[in-house]
Symmetry: C2
Subunit: 688 residues, 2 copies
Amino acid sequence: MKMARTVGFALVMWAAVAALRPVAADEGMWPLNRFRAAPLQQKYGFTPAPQWLQNAQLASVRFARGCSGSFVSPSGLVMTNYHCAVACIEALSTEQSKLLETGFYAETATDERRCPGMELNQLTTITDVTDRVTAATKGAEGDRFGAARKAVFAVIESECAKDDRVRCEVVTLYHGGKYDLYSYRRFQDVRLVFAPEFDTAFFGGDPDNFMFPRFNLDLAFVRVYDGGGPLVSSHWFPWSPAGASAGDLVFVTGHPGSTSRLDTIAQLEFERDVRLPTHLLFYSEARGLLTEFEHRVPAEARLARAQLVFIENTLKVLKGELDTLADRTQLDRKRAEETELRRQVAARPELQQRFGGAWTAVSDAIDRKRDLWKRSAAFSRLTGSELFAQAQTLVRMATELSRANEQRLPEFTNAALPARRQQIEATRPYSTELETLVLAHALRHIREQLGLDDPAVKALLGRRAPDEVASSAIQATTLRDATARVALMKGGQAAIEASQDPLIALAKAVDGFTRESRRRLEDEIDARVDKNIEAIAQARFALQGETVYPDATFTLRLTYGTVKGWNEAGRDVVPFTTFAGLFDRHTGSAPFNLPKRWLDRKSAVALSTPFNLVADTDIIGGNSGSPMIDRVGQIVGLIFDGNIHSIGGEYLFDPSKNRSVAVDSRGIKEALRSVYRAERVLQEIDRR
Amino acid sequence: MKMARTVGFALVMWAAVAALRPVAADEGMWPLNRFRAAPLQQKYGFTPAPQWLQNAQLASVRFARGCSGSFVSPSGLVMTNYHCAVACIEALSTEQSKLLETGFYAETATDERRCPGMELNQLTTITDVTDRVTAATKGAEGDRFGAARKAVFAVIESECAKDDRVRCEVVTLYHGGKYDLYSYRRFQDVRLVFAPEFDTAFFGGDPDNFMFPRFNLDLAFVRVYDGGGPLVSSHWFPWSPAGASAGDLVFVTGHPGSTSRLDTIAQLEFERDVRLPTHLLFYSEARGLLTEFEHRVPAEARLARAQLVFIENTLKVLKGELDTLADRTQLDRKRAEETELRRQVAARPELQQRFGGAWTAVSDAIDRKRDLWKRSAAFSRLTGSELFAQAQTLVRMATELSRANEQRLPEFTNAALPARRQQIEATRPYSTELETLVLAHALRHIREQLGLDDPAVKALLGRRAPDEVASSAIQATTLRDATARVALMKGGQAAIEASQDPLIALAKAVDGFTRESRRRLEDEIDARVDKNIEAIAQARFALQGETVYPDATFTLRLTYGTVKGWNEAGRDVVPFTTFAGLFDRHTGSAPFNLPKRWLDRKSAVALSTPFNLVADTDIIGGNSGSPMIDRVGQIVGLIFDGNIHSIGGEYLFDPSKNRSVAVDSRGIKEALRSVYRAERVLQEIDRR
């Protein structure tokens, strides 16, 4: 699994390469309004018709918290990954009904259960707003550039988002070369239909994560409701009767979170030397804490486990990225490509004059970034505590709502407010012990990064120890109760000021520092970097035209490729696994233990059925839950991971080794039929 | 604290700098037989007499497990850091007598209690054996070079170590430019005399570690016994009646563990990109595990805490090192220095021919090092479990003793055997839960680093989970009992083969893999690197003569400097703190809580007495417990740490910011007198 988008992923890079040689046919994450059909036609003799592309767009959905999915029936049934629905499955579990252990299947429509806080978005329109943004930021330098851009974004988004059912986002493509307005239909009544057991979905656990051969049923079905009943979904992907074979052309639609293929060397070195090590250390410690926590507080192990899965996945990604950047050969190649692009720019005086200074300007900004970034990153740990995150949202919302829309932080503009409100209103369980652990860890980390005598540290801790502050605040807070949160939200600034809640107090105490740190990072560094990266993008357009795909932006992209394995250290890896392989790998020890239901029903399973498969489609974190479809737009697989070489896809696409990992459509049906006997779902996806 | 030598510290660097400009007067860790008096005389008008140097050598002691200390009375009393004795203090604690909480003071001679496993070494002679080693390795290439050197070391050490009371080590200086034989007198009957409470010794804990202003009584006194009674120590340092003032010349003797000031850029990049991140991740996770373990198993929190202190210290060091190497300015300067040295070599054809290829040869070896190193490092985690370490020693000893002395692993040569036997025989408590945690972590880590299908992983785990393997092995092992270990040791190969002990079985199962991995790393990489680093050292001698000090080697060194503060971001840091500052910093919350005894006796304390101080002496991990002495060889302080800038001392000495941190000799006496009322110790150190 594990393609869920990890917050904090960095931006930008492969186009430095792309600027210098033609993009290989099977590479590229293409926005649907900027899809280049020519190379596809050239290599595969296939050009998707407009209605093919339109169906691909409208049958795809985005999970607001960072995943992909697709409609697979005309009645709003959505296929995604188990790991994209795990928070829902966990929230619907109780002491009596341990859904992580048993799985979930709604035998009848009325058994479908609402997922608290889950929001799905369907992309309805894309509008190019480049001219409007460029006009608004024209001539602005440094922090004024960022402020001007933020303001015009807020205006455009607010004009677009006329009611709560619409979500609008201005998307920055090519780091500023182009700006598109994406308008989504929002769905907030989403109900769980089917999920297997945790042990089946995550079979092989962290050891097998990003590996192949692979044996995961990383699958969930949810259903979108509209007005109390199932949504009538006019666009959906039918199920392929035959599935895919090795060598077949396949497509993937989905929402890759971010890539850094256009980064400059200075940015990549910052990643390698500062950002990746800092996150890796923090998450490694968190992994240790949660691993022991599972033993210490077995009653809350369930919640801890979900976090641990997330953290171990994050760690594997960050480690893979660091390994890629620590590979001298790769970085030297990047360096040579940057040098070549700079040489081409320098060779044309009009380009040199407009864009020639951009690389040095980026590098200078990065040199001043370290301390500001570290401070800001340290503060961001606080919201690892979901209760603290609620407190911070409440404190900030009260302040932000007193400001004009275009002067607010982006997450509190009118366009973004519905999502904030939903966060505050959603009812879900909080573990006191786990929240305490997470908040205490964040506080210790902040003290460590900023030092004892930093005023922000003093504001947070006073003369108390981090564990003490965390424990007393989490114990005494009323914020685990949605009605208390809603009351504070409705009470506005006065209610926040009057509140004696210790988490509200903590959020208030540190808010000035965190805002200031964020503002300085955004204005003094990020805005300057962005402006110059935009210049580099424009230099590239001037040299190449718009033949390069933009870095990923957690917006809908189309990618294509072939079902095929690869060669690993001299050994050929075949592109399919089967149920037979799954049963072979079962040892009975976690994470290689199949649930009893599987063992009991083994004799009913057609063991040679394909289970998982790989293809050289170009995906990355955020593509989790993406449908894999064939030429005629039928489901042949469900993306849930990439192989270990796919992690380097953050910085470059290596066609010889980078592979997407999917559940085979035939495997899904075989499991639903022979193991789960989920006839209702089977019948629904078999409708044509 | 925290200058205890961390196993795994890397090697070599500042001489690349030193080759190019004269060494600043206050820089340098000088072996006592290679001390350069001229710059000292020039700057301070002082030249130590031969008997001054001899007393400095014989009054200094090395803790075999990685610390320094000094005789401070003619009756074998040794002063060192609390954190160098903490394993003893912990081992002597019981449910009834919690010495970490209460501290320890032997009011009478008979109350002094033996520290299990503690060994002290006193350096008696140094002999230059360069010619003999060079002759033995002449013409050997690649792995044969390493083997030949290992063999001649074993012969020389074995000739020297005639009985168990002598420890002999051939020390490789300048990474092979020179070889000196160090002969030590071994003391194994060492008894605890005095230690304060943990909270006083570690006041400020990890947050204050490597910081200054500082307020730690990181002090312990132990006594060396010989033949059942106190050792008559003919060499010792008397206590200074007046202490030191700002601006005073001071000296430090001690055992810096290792430095990397002579490393090539390729080696430094390996540190930055591979070694430091790998260790940081492992230890960060361990920190998380132990932090929660303290809550989960309060009964064993005592043991966990000592490990946690070690790990947090290690993390701070590794992070400081990574920060130094991630600083582009510093690394670019190093790069320029290397380029300049290579240029000077290239300018002289006879040097170019002999040494010109050395840098590329190092770089080529480093390129092939990554996988081998990662494998070897992963295996090394196993011995984090002290019980597994016992099992491995027993398994290997049985094999090694069947071989000729010069063909054994270095830790099983005749010279090294007494220490191995002592390890096996020492009686100490093992925590079942903690040992399980550590071993399980190591097994998970190995599986993660090597992959599920690696034969070594299969040998260790079979079809079981890491936690299961660790838990059942630690539960069932008999090795926590010293008599069982001694029986296995005496039984030799036959006893090991017949043993059904699960930890012995685990050690046997993996031994072939770990030996092979170590052999390949040493022969294919390290030996090649060493040989070429030796060539670089010789090129440097040819250009400069022997005016450069060798990198640290955990052998006795003399360094000197001045008591003085530094400027931190525009603010002057004064070089002394006082007891008043200590009481001010007391909050009552760990780690800023003074024991009740201190609060009760505050009125008796002369609050203006100097407590901690800093000087610009050149020290590093391993110098913990070093005496700070004045011109006449009197104790003025006790080294226990460096400031945060001292960590970069691994790679270079920055005279403007690098400071050693010590307990002031006046502070020690004031605490002994007014807080601990330790009259017997006071009288002994006041003898002249």
